[in-house]
């Protein structure tokens, strides 16, 4: 057993703390090449990761950087710096700690490269940027340890893949580098261990005491939740009551728009003027920081938030977590619950608030799953090649490289261990020449090979590559500011598509205030304050959470029951009503409901095939409907059902589901779909084909930039085998579509269809109208709607009389 140096023992004693057994174990095994610690929130996890570093640096004989700390959040890096500085100062340790994120000043960043601190706290993107500099070997000289915090969150995304490629680079520079991963509770620790260790190094897993089980319940309210609706407005009085009874409450929402509406309603009902804040990723940074600071000072009684507060920061006094809306995913729920009560060995307290009756069913299933200790998750598959392409470009920025060496290095990252040489070479070729069937860039290659080494043809391009480092995919957003003579107060951001739908005088919610759209100026949305009661809703990017398969299966089982004693009366009655007006979906059969709503013909297919499966069904069916002249306009998929809306009603669904017909012309339809284009845009941006940031400001107006859809269409037309399309298809197969599941479903139901034609929305269908992630269908219906709306506008404006309309009797004909 490795003992702590005396000043550490004294310091722990002065705080009245003892060293947790997992902290001691981390110290004992500090020589392991890789080590993964799984511990609940509040288990002193961060200190466990740093103890070996602090004791090693206590001697004061280390030159240069010793430990690199990586966290998924900038705010977390800053927070850890505060937390580490306390023991270091109090024990008078000769250790310099600094953070480096996108918010660090340029002067400071330059100084850090010349004179690195002992401990550098940073994010995967900032690290990737550091490895792109020619002086990286000097900066990281002597580096001994890397601590990856919240690795479970990173392992789920491409940010983690990028990080592991950067670590492979660092491992070449510093062969003795030890890796430590800190993770919250996950379903498959071994997968994370494989992901973080240098392949094929072993990575032992330490499991800390998980602590007492959480106290999680559904919030009881006197009022019943509505049939549909995402606001949970009915629960406002009960939630306020809970806020009063606790020190600090975190109120989580699944989407930013829902958080805005809830905050707005909470504020209207807040008669005691309790200090309540709002925090989400679309708010302006200064606004978010103000809320975070107030929270740290303990001035807020509640914060309405989204995933932006999912991770790490130790707020201290949070004693209740409220989840508004069904949690969709048990693992995330458990991690959110962990945000309450950061004291070790105290149970976390959480309340689930369903927004509608369907969510009551989902919440009951989720509570059962939490109590059963059932976590969910999907294996991620091999390392994505778009991230690899970016890594190759980053490597080229740092200096000439040898392809064989880079291949060896890249395949030492767990996720890329199975990458083949031809796959690697295709990525390298893409980075060098674009990888087109038409070899057009012999003269202007991005990378050229000289004396066997690859390097940038034009050294100036390193600036552009560095400006586009990162794998986080934001939708295009526009800044929102108050309209003033010279630049008013920044409020946050809205999606470009939403901004495009605004016209002068429209109102929407942002940062809890209602504002009025005034106009667009130089890529900024200008707004003014407005006093209306009912705003249009800001459609922020809805991070769409898929319900895990486990939860979905629990829900499906509940539907087959005769009665529902475990559900509140109002929800049991609601399910009974569904049985009365339509029916509940039955195993081995496919329930389809058709009804008019919202001016369109709506059809719902309850396939219970998971979101990817239902999404695939949406793609297949809208294609068939387009073929059959039913003018589909779009669809949205949940884990249970697909809702399709269009201009003409479905009267006989059987021909829609004919497997032979479904296949006919599917390829073209699929390739042209908006969903594929979205996927392409994300991958092409990561791979460096599309540059989001260029040295020329974006201000100059949009006519200089063109849509990524055009690139996609051009490639599918002229170069269908191109690497980017191959990557797009792979991405779609891993996260968007699931043909096998639909095929299996069609075989299972074997034509047993229950088609219910209803006069209005059924109880079960109502929640579908709130789903985000609607996929538009751009077919004949769009032309029809466009012509109708154009005629109406021309008539209304009086311009129709001045302009000859596109009549049936053209004044001019070819040859006529």
């Amino acid at each position: 057993m490795q003992s702590l140096p005396p000043q550490f023992t004294r310091w722990f004693a002065s705080k009245g703390w003892t060293v947790h057994s997992h902290q001691q174990e981390m110290l004992n095994r500090s020589d392991a090449p890789a080590l993964l610690l799984i511990a609940p929130t509040g288990g002193g996890k961060t200190l466990s990761g740093f103890l070996p570093t602090l004791t090693d640096l206590a001697h004061g004989d280390h030159d240069g950087m010793h430990t690199l700390y990586i966290s998924p959040l900038k705010a977390l890096a800053a927070d850890i710096k505060r937390n580490l500085t306390t023991p270091v100062t109090e024990m008078r340790l000769p250790i310099r700690i600094e953070d480096r994120t996108g918010d660090t000043s340029q002067t400071r960043k330059r100084r850090q490269r010349a004179d690195p601190p002992h401990i550098l706290l940073t994010t995967p993107e900032s690290l990737a940027l550091l490895t792109s500099y020619e002086d990286a070997p000097r900066m990281f000289k002597g580096l001994k340890r890397v601590v990856i915090d919240e690795i479970h969150a990173l392992a789920e995304s491409k940010r983690g893949d990028q990080l592991m490629l950067a670590l492979a680079r660092l491992q070449t520079l510093c062969p003795d580098l030890k890796r430590v991963g800190l993770s919250a509770t996950v379903e498959d620790p071994a997968a994370i261990a494989r992901f973080m260790a240098r392949h094929p190094d072993p990575c032992p897993i330490l499991l800390a005491d998980p602590g007492p089980p959480p106290d999680v319940q559904m919030l009881r309210t006197s009022e019943a939740p509505p049939w549909a609706g995402g606001g949970a407005a009915y629960a406002i009085p009960a939630v306020l009551d809970q806020i009063r009874q606790h020190n600090t409450t975190l109120i989580f929402h699944n989407t930013r728009a829902q958080a805005e509406i809830f905050f707005h309603n909470l504020w209207l009902a807040n008669d005691d003027s309790l200090p309540i804040g709002i925090h989400h990723g679309s708010l302006d940074r200064t606004q978010r920081e103000r809320v975070e600071a107030a929270m740290v000072r303990g001035e807020l009684r509640a914060i309405v938030c989204t995933g932006s507060l999912d991770l790490g920061i130790d707020w201290g006094d949070v004693d209740l977590v409220i989840q508004i809306g069904a949690p969709k995913n048990v693992k995330r729920l458990v991690q959110r619950i962990g945000r309450a009560n950061h004291r070790y060995n105290a149970p976390s307290k959480a309340l689930l608030v369903p927004a509608n009756r369907f969510e009551v069913v989902e919440c009951v299933a989720a509570v059962e799953a939490v109590l059963d200790g059932e976590l969910d998750g999907e294996p991620r598959g091999p390392g994505p090649r778009d991230v690899l392409c970016q890594h190759i470009l980053i490597t080229a920025c740092a200096g000439p490289f040898d392809a064989d060496t880079l291949f060896t290095e890249v395949t030492s990252a767990g996720a890329y261990a199975s990458l083949t040489r031809p796959e690697f070479d295709a990525c390298l070729d893409f980075c060098a020449t674009g990888g087109y069937a038409l070899r057009a860039y012999d003269k202007w290659q991005r990378l050229v090979q000289r004396d066997g080494f690859w390097s940038l043809r034009d050294p100036r391009s390193s600036q552009r590559i560095r400006m586009n480092i990162g794998t986080i995919q934001d939708t295009d957003t526009l800044k929102v500011r108050m309209k003033r003579n010279r630049g008013g107060k920044p409020l946050g951001e809205i999606e470009e598509d939403f901004a495009a739908s605004l016209t002068h005088g429209d109102t929407f919610l942002i940062g809890g205030q209602i504002v009025k759209y005034e106009g667009l100026r130089e890529m900024t949305v200008e707004v003014s304050r407005d006093a209306v009661k009912k705003p249009r809703i800001a459609s922020f990017m809805g991070a769409k959470f898929a319900t895990s398969t486990q939860l979905s299966a629990r829900v499906q089982r509940m539907f087959t029951q005769d009665s529902w004693p475990e559900l509140p009366d109002h929800t049991a009655e609601w399910l009974a009503l569904q049985r009365e007006v339509s029916q509940l979906p039955q195993p081995g059969r496919l329930l389809i409901e058709s009804f008019p709503h919202d001016g369109h013909a709506q059809t719902v297919f309850y396939g219970f095939a998971g979101r990817n499966g239902q999404q695939t069904l949406g793609l297949l069916l809208t294609k068939r409907m387009e073929d059959l002249g039913l003018h589909p306009l779009g669809f949205v998929a949940t884990d249970y059902a697909t809702l399709i809306w269009g201009l003409d009603p479905v009267t006989d669904p059987a021909p829609l589901l004919d497997p032979m017909a479904l296949q006919d012309g599917l390829d073209t339809w699929l390739a042209g779909n908006a969903m594929m284009k979205r996927t392409f845009r994300a991958s092409a941006t990561i791979a460096g084909l599309i540059e989001r940031n260029t040295p020329q400001a974006r201000k100059s107006g949009r006519q200089a930039t063109f849509s990524s859809d055009i690139l996609y269409d051009t490639l599918t037309k002229y170069d269908p085998d191109h690497l980017m399309l191959d990557i797009t298809r792979q991405e779609a197969l891993r996260g968007l579509v699931d043909f096998a599941r639909i095929q299996e479903m069609l075989e299972r139901i074997d034509g047993r269809i229950d088609h219910r034609v209803l006069r209005k929305v059924s109880p079960l269908a109502a929640p579908l109208f709130l789903e985000v992630g609607r996929v538009p269908v751009k077919g004949a219906a769009e032309e029809r709607l466009l012509a109708k709306e154009a005629a109406r506008l021309m008539e209304a404006s009086g311009l129709a009389n001045l302009t000859p309309p596109p009549s049936d009797t053209p004044r001019w004909r070819v040859g006529g």
Partner: protein
């Protein structure tokens, strides 16, 4: 039966010759633009079809084609603006990314189709025909020959744009502006003009239909002027509610959305 689309699994068997498009028709090097069409022969299958949206400017009767080209029947003149040929080459040359190098052939394919349909005696390329003069001179031989074939038997005018201010080594006449009848053709609109046809701004108009916003390249016209949408494949658009379009166009301006059925609306502002 397998529902898994071949398109997602393997593409190899579908590999096309680089000079073929997905329809398998030759698009380059083997162009056959019939000269017969160029002298005004009739096109039987188009006889009863409306070509596009008809309107008038300073007494000239014009047609906005869904492709983004302008047809002036009286003079058998076809006008296209902002082709931006060679854009991918220019971006790569300047150290940017290597975009799919197919935009020139895609734009020329579209233009070939419009020429076959209308058989103009005069073609006016309204500026920014090339992404820069370097791109014009770097056009591959087959694309250069393609343009030459399109020019055969008709008058071809290159109007200078801000991207291509000077002559290019291709057939046709180079002009700063062209006056014909009541109309004058130049690249960038001038504030006091009458009967002016220009391009440059790549206008696009957005229309809210139900819950979706449909945005397309658009022709803009009012009592005094007409602004053409960008015709080239690699071009973006500037919304009609942005400056300077808003100040340039009068209150009575209309936008004609391009697409399968060109449609006029009051210009969104």
């Amino acid at each position: 039966m397998s529902l898994i689309p071949a398109w997602l699994i393997a593409r190899k068997q579908l590999r096309l010759h680089p000079f073929e498009n997905t329809h398998g028709t030759p698009v380059s090097g083997q162009i056959d633009v019939s000269i017969a069409l160029a002298v005004g022969a009739t096109i039987p299958h188009e006889r009863s079809m409306n070509l596009g949206f008809d309107f008038s400017l300073s007494g000239a009767n014009l047609t906005a084609l869904g492709s983004g080209a302008l047809w002036w029947a009286e003079h058998r003149l076809l006008c296209v603006s902002d082709l931006h040929l060679g854009k991918s080459e220019r971006i790569a040359r300047r150290g940017g990314t290597t975009l799919p190098p197919y935009e020139t052939r895609d734009t020329l394919t579209k233009l070939t189709h419009d020429l076959e349909r209308c058989a103009p005696q005069t073609v006016v390329a309204l500026g920014d025909s090339f992404d820069d003069l370097g791109a014009a001179n770097a056009l591959p031989a087959d694309e250069r020959n393609w343009i030459t074939k399109l020019q055969a038997g008709r008058r071809w005018i290159w109007i200078e744009g801000n991207h291509d201010p000077g002559s290019v080594k291709l057939g046709g006449t180079h002009m700063v502006e062209l006056k014909l009848g009541a109309l004058s053709f130049r690249h960038i609109a001038t504030p006091a003009a009458q009967g002016e046809v220009s391009g440059h701004y790549h206008p696009k108009a957005a229309l809210n239909v139900g819950r979706r916003s449909i945005s397309r390249p658009a022709f803009l016209y009012d009592e005094a002027r007409l602004i053409l949408p960008a015709y080239g494949t690699y071009t973006g658009g500037l919304r009609t509610d942005s400056e300077p379009i808003r100040s340039l166009m009068s209150a009575k301006a209309c936008a004609i959305l391009t697409g399968p059925h060109p449609t006029a609306v009051p210009m969104p502002r």
